[in-house]
Chain length 223, copies 2
Amino acid sequence: MRWTKGDRDNPAGPAGPRGYHHGNLKEALVRAALELIAEKGPAGFTFADAARWAGVSPAAPYRHFRDRDELIADVARRGFELFSAALTKAWNEGRPELMAAFDRLGRAYLDFARQQPAYYSAMFEAGVSLDTDPQLRAASEAAFAVLRGAAEKLVALMPAQGRPPALMVALHVWSMTHGIASLFGRGDAARRALPMPPEELLEAAMLIYLRGLGLTPGSTSGR
Amino acid sequence: MRWTKGDRDNPAGPAGPRGYHHGNLKEALVRAALELIAEKGPAGFTFADAARWAGVSPAAPYRHFRDRDELIADVARRGFELFSAALTKAWNEGRPELMAAFDRLGRAYLDFARQQPAYYSAMFEAGVSLDTDPQLRAASEAAFAVLRGAAEKLVALMPAQGRPPALMVALHVWSMTHGIASLFGRGDAARRALPMPPEELLEAAMLIYLRGLGLTPGSTSGR
DNA sequence: TGTACATCAGTGAACGCGCGTTCACTGATGTAC
DNA sequence: TGTACATCAGTGAACGCGCGTTCACTGATGTAC
């Protein structure tokens, strides 16, 4: 990828005067999709809308995406990549303290759902099949791998006999967090009312769950 | 509601010869919406599609629904009513044995998501705001009330000091179950692969969670 | 450094299509007497 | 029991609109020599 004029998208809004070549249309279309999804949901925009938002003719997007689905799949893939990065950073290999890192991980998940509802929609609700694009699947699996790694460290704290499978623990954590994010933690209109912040609801759930696994807050100070 | 020819919808398919009056078009449109949502997702059908499926002219639906959103909201409302009924039946007031009833409740939730993906989509993913229709909100709240009632009975088993709020427990149960259903338990293409049945994943999660609350399987035989 | 050429990325006009919605209408049903 | 009338539920034609997609094209950029 290269262009001579530097990144000259519209940082916060549609169209603007520009020369014959856009310079960075692919990125602009992705950004348009994010804006439009955030406004009206993943079903609420068209290929032509995205072109209009980016200030190009309706035929221009075809130079970069086969169709609308390919555009949305690309948004989902980028979303998973950002998501992985956010989770990885929050988890920080469980350092300096495992329980605190685990708490940060959950909060990062909820943060992402709230602050990036458009990515979140594209990733989990747009009906994009993971099979359409190997890179999409890989990005999705990389995100889950962060949760799985965290679950492994948690499980390793338990006595060797009676350890639950780390995969199962990871799936439990994912499901609980995803459930809270989907029902209560969204940054858009689909959110339901809740008598407490979603972060607190999640933290309480995780404390109870971990206690059920035999892990108490005091038992985790080591590495 | 009354008609002289008896219920003469199309029980399993579109159109069919009929007289000038359909007889039961409202029901037929709801059924059309369910079919079409199941096929192509909540965004994948149009008002005209529904009319075509029911075998009437595109203007006919306007006698029964203001627009497509009102039709979908009606589907969601009916979905919540069926959902409430299924949960209520599974829970059965916690009889004869509380833990078994609780397990049935979770399974009923997952069953519903799997067997009625169209209703489930309309209820949770179609972007219908609960504020559009008081009956829709009431139906949604009635469904949650079943979970809440179950949580209350569970919490009542615990020693009075240190009981968690039943509302919180209900929200945890709802979130976990909804998360599993959304990610792994769908009856349609959006499902992700899982190395075990969703029911087992949920049951294991609930056992761990309840243990974390101090409730052990043996402690619940009374009422 | 300049020039010719190939390639790339966007244009704009055009198309067929199906959608949402309105409208005056009409066939069927229900009801008052 | 019959008849006149009101109401209801669906018709079908029409409309304007925006979408997805194709096409020959053209302006801009990159590159070989």
